[in-house]
Amino acid sequence: MRGREWSRPVRPARREVLSAVPELEEGRPPLLFVPGFGHGAWAFAEHWLGHAASRGFPAYAVSLRGHGGSEPAPEATLRAYAHDVVQVAASLPRQAVLVGHGAGALVVAHALARYPARGAVLVAPVFGGWGVLGAALRRNPAGTLPAVFGGPLRLNRGQLFSSELPDEEARRYVGRLGRAGRRAQWALLGEPEAESAVGAPPVLVLGSPDDRVVPASTLTRVARRYGSAPLLFPGMGHDLMLDARWEEPIDAILDWLEKEPVGPGGHVRAVGGQPPAWWTAGLPAGVAGWGTRASEPVSVLVRRLIRPPPSSRARR
């Protein structure tokens, strides 16, 4: 019973949705990108939307209420954000893959309990807790401390980007950051865990070990919760979609989706007790860190995954 969902539905809000759709419909699942707190759909429109579309995936990005071009909502809660995501996902023509970044990953985790996604990708997930607060206070006390008392959370460039990103671009991005609702920010500290996902979607977790917002240990913990190991991109900042080497993570996500052995509606875990042989075979080295392969210890996987995929190395 979800009495509250019924008796107190979330108040509707106008939402900004940016999209890039391939010219030819290739039957691939649509991607819905969910930006983290402070970011709007623009963060994905810079690079990732177009890139996903050029590889044949219809790509959409939503601005959570109060962010980007969506309606202002200073009193927004985490639940309202999850509502925004589910509403947009259900409006897409087909079952979508949800891609959440930062605190947007937490929003996606909550949305997964309300919408049977085709799959989910958590990019540098901020699932809250005191560890994240500690890290943020250490790196950026002046920007973080007001947020604890309900003020705006100000992120600085050192937290978000690696030094490879040109200064001017980084300043431009930081200048576009907005702020999340006060109550949603507090939810990062004391919100109960998201309900388990409906429809058992496969979940990929990726991030950077050099992220100054999300400690590597958090990445591993979140990934373990979804029965996998994180996919790591060393040398990148928290905003993987805006940083200098933005192509590597999005290519890894799309590779994973192309290999993902999930039929429409049918999910890996439901097919039977044993994963099919072609599931474990033939995965590219860089995208093997998902699924429920309990036989291999997580640490081994992590070490193997730290190497960037051969394809991206060749490009540099």
Partner: protein
């Protein structure tokens, strides 16, 4: 990524030859589940079974999805102005919300587009055989089922396929229930059942008698008040006419805030009576009979306009019909009225003509199966009925969880047979359970459930099935 054409359609090469008891060939569909009907409950059955990894063949006699909610279908009971009587959060599937831009009480056309989007979003159409009706469903050994189909209208050859399980979602609002009245045959006016009422133009300028105070009867009475030259509304008893909005919010949402707090029934009834007194007022002052029961004891009627039109003289409330004369209708209190059109909004009865009545333990053939959770049949663990409910909320959330439970049960049969056996025992023990407070005994309330009680019962069943 594999495409949906890998599954779904029976492929002649892939199926092994077998024969049923008549010696006719049967194509064996292995672990595939058969879903009968692609209305709201059928669609959610397909989606949830697919989500749990089962192959699904769905047979739909019409050429589109939406069942009763698709006005193009000849069995559809909707009329031009049909709107929902439960607000959006109560009506939508729990994992596929209706758009924020829709009103609180959407129109039936919006509901149809909602089902079409649901079918496309989850790619369900590739599993549906349109224009195919099921004429026979027979149990065979191993708890499997032979399903015989042919093209709708009786054309073409019959085909029989063998399935691991069957979900019956053929709806229960299409076979009209017509009461018997003395002298009805001699009546010279026009008689119609609400199922054939489509448009207020049918009533324009006529003297109309509407029989029945269900939600449909009240809607038609209101339309007659606007269009007809005269309107009488005949009811068996007094009812509680709940407004659609209370305290500026949809009434069902206000009611559920109390349910969420687990306020006891008596207190809720008391509060409800008070709210009605403050908003609608004393109904007997309008000439309506005083309700002979407490609120929540009959299926709720959500209609803000009925009382309004009674107050404007548009609707004349009258008691039950006693008998028909050629040019008049005699009422229970002896009065005679002279309507030209009589609309019977007297409800529907479920029908399962493709299934032997003994399967459901309904040897009398009255159309009232004995089931647990209104879905599971004692002695037939692989048969489920979806959507055979009359909830005091939207139906689709309830069908959704019914079919999730059935899919989990089928999984348990495969992976943990001992739990499935225990479940079958519970079905036998508890068949016929009710999930509402005390209700008036009437065929109208055969399938009445309180949505909160029912969902809690389903949740318990899921927990018992999966357990620790």
């Amino acid at each position: 990524m594999s495409t949906s054409t890998d599954h779904g359609r029976p492929d002649p090469e892939a199926t092994s030859p077998a024969a049923n008891s008549d010696g006719r060939p049967v194509s064996d569909r292995g672990d595939t589940v058969c879903v009968i009907g692609a209305g709201a409950s059928g669609l959610t059955a397909i989606k949830n079974l697919r989500e749990h990894g089962f192959g699904v063949d769905c047979y739909e006699r019409e050429t589109g999805v939406g069942g009763a909610w698709n006005w193009r279908h000849d069995r559809s009971p909707v009329y031009a102005s049909t709107h929902l009587i439960s607000s959006k959060p109560f009506t939508q599937f729990p994992d596929f919300p209706m758009p924020d831009s829709w009103p609180d009480y959407p129109h039936h056309g919006q509901l149809l587009s909602y089902f079409e989007r649901y079918a496309d979003h989850f790619d369900l159409r590739s599993h549906i055989w349109f224009g195919t009706e099921v004429i026979r469903v027979q149990p065979v050994e191993g708890d499997r089922w032979d399903v015989t189909t042919r093209s709708t209208g009786g054309y073409g050859p019959e085909r029989t396929a063998r399935y691991a399980a069957v979900v019956i979602a053929n709806g229960h609002n299409w076979s009209p229930k017509l009461p018997r009245y003395e002298g009805l045959e001699q009546f010279r006016g026009e008689i119609m059942h609400a199922s054939s009422y489509k448009d207020p133009a049918q009533l324009r300028g006529k003297r109309v008698l509407v029989v029945g105070a269900g939600n449909t009867g009240c809607d038609i009475a209101v339309e007659a008040a606007q269009q007809a030259s005269r309107c009488w509304h005949s009811t068996r008893r007094g009812y509680w006419y709940a407004p659609k909005y209370v305290l500026g919010r949809p009434a069902d949402q206000v009611n559920d805030s109390l349910l969420a707090l687990r306020v006891p029934l008596r207190v809720r009834q008391w509060l409800y009576h008070w709210t009605l007194r403050l908003t609608v007022g004393d109904l007997t002052r309008f000439g309506l009979p005083k309700p002979d029961h407490r609120v929540y004891e009959t299926h709720p009627i959500a209609n803000s306009q009925l009382v309004y039109y009674v107050g404007h003289g548009g609707i004349g409330p009258v008691p039950d019909v006693a008998r028909f004369h050629p040019y008049a209708v005699e009422l229970a209190d002896g009065r005679e009225i002279d309507p030209e059109v009589v609309v019977f909004a007297t409800g529907y009865l479920p029908r399962f003509e493709f299934l032997d009545a003994s399967v459901f333990g309904d040897s009398a053939g009255a159309g009232r199966p004995t089931l647990w959770l209104n879905a599971f049949t004692p002695g037939h663990p692989t048969l489920a009925v979806a959507g055979l409910l009359q909830p005091d909320s939207g139906l689709f959330t309830l069908s959704h969880w019914q079919t999730v439970l059935f899919a989990r049960l089928l999984q348990a049969r495969r992976d943990r047979p001992e739990r499935a056996t225990a479940f079958a025992q519970r079905v036998r023990d508890r068949a016929g359970e009710r999930y509402s407070g005390p209700v008036k005994d009437s065929s109208r309330h055969w399938f009445e459930v309180g949505h909160a009680d029912y969902l809690r019962a389903i949740q318990r069943a899921l927990v018992e099935l999966e357990g620790k």
